[in-house]
Symmetry: C2
Subunit: 191 residues, 2 copies
DNA sequence: GTCTATATATAGATAGAC
DNA sequence: GTCTATCTATATATAGAC
């Protein structure tokens, strides 16, 4: 859990995630990271045996961040939790039209190692479970309509988010994602 | 318009699109295509000066297919048109969990040539315009609720489709996309 | 239209010195 | 922990023969 063991390693993961969200998994190399860090690419292999290893560490790093975030928003109302999610992804779109790291990895999913693929799916399920729980909670507190199916709505929400980031990038308009998610919220509320 | 001028060229484009939808733009090379075609990669440069050229031809080829498809469904009711769209993308998911070619290209958008980027956006807008028109038509014929905002719904629809394909791949479940789009249709209908 | 041969660049990875 | 040096594989692309 103590992943702050080394500054270079943490910074490499931060950079790798940024590249992943900007040019995809196949779009960056150890060379890019090394140049940005001001070290040689061979040095990076001290921290990550292989690119697959880097990918794995990257997802774990992102996952740990999500778990911390989930703790922070745990006391918010379901509606505010959902709003907090919108803000997280809006920040991606506003930051050079980044897409979701998991969405980016999905494109290359077939060429990833079995282990990394498994990790990606595991994290995806973790996020989905969180959404489903949040929606269920909102039904109970009457914040959301009693007619919604939490699992179905969670899938629509996740798809809209992934696709919304893609469309924001295509149109060079970060507002797109926000409008789409606001629209989905409105549709859910109209049930 | 006469793009059937050569069998090898057409087959190369078909293969390239398949690769794009499966492993992304950076995930395949002239070598892959040449091997599949049973020719040498140098021969492919006879048809496509560069990979960027191939990408451009690929989008144009896909775009031409969309225009033919739009003509074929032109006489259907708006609701059936939407259903026809669902079928097109469902076939992607059912075919080895392919994603949308435009969604795949969006991931690599930043490293594409200005020309190709422009082409991708142009085609995206063409698809969006078609959707908006179809939704407007359905409002007029009372098939869709008079409360929907065609442009907002078109964006939600496109995002759900892009994201739905990604989620289908992640879960190895082509049913996901269908459920998501059915859910969106239901939400729209509930307005 | 397809081939061989080749050029050039880059990617992922390792060995071993400091 | 970072370096130099090196290996092997692959990618894009071109020249020129058949």
């Amino acid at each position: 859990m103590n992943d702050l063991e080394n500054k270079t390693k943490t910074e490499a993961l931060r950079l790798a995630r940024s590249y992943l969200q900007t040019v995809g998994y196949n779009g960056f190399s150890f060379q890019h990271l090394a140049d940005d860090l001001g070290i040689k690419k061979a040095s990076l292999h001290y921290y990550f045996k292989s690119k697959d290893d880097l990918g794995l560490a990257l997802v774990e790093y992102y996952q740990a961040g999500f778990e911390r975030w989930a703790m922070q928003v745990a006391e918010l109302t379901p509606k505010k939790k959902l709003q907090a999610v919108v803000e997280v992804f809006s920040r991606f779109a506003e930051d050079d039209f980044k897409v979701c790291p998991m969405g980016a990895l999905s494109i290359d999913l077939k060429v990833l190692s079995k282990k990394l693929k498994h990790k990606v799916l595991e994290f995806h399920n973790m996020q989905r479970d969180w959404l489903v729980e949040t929606l269920k909670q909102g039904k109970k507190t009457k914040e959301f309509s009693s007619h919604i199916d939490p699992e179905a709505v969670a899938d629509i929400w996740m798809a809209s988010t992934q696709g919304g980031l893609i469309i924001s990038r295509l149109r060079s308009d970060s507002q797109c994602l926000k409008s789409i998610l606001k629209g989905v919220q409105k549709l859910i509320g109209a049930l």
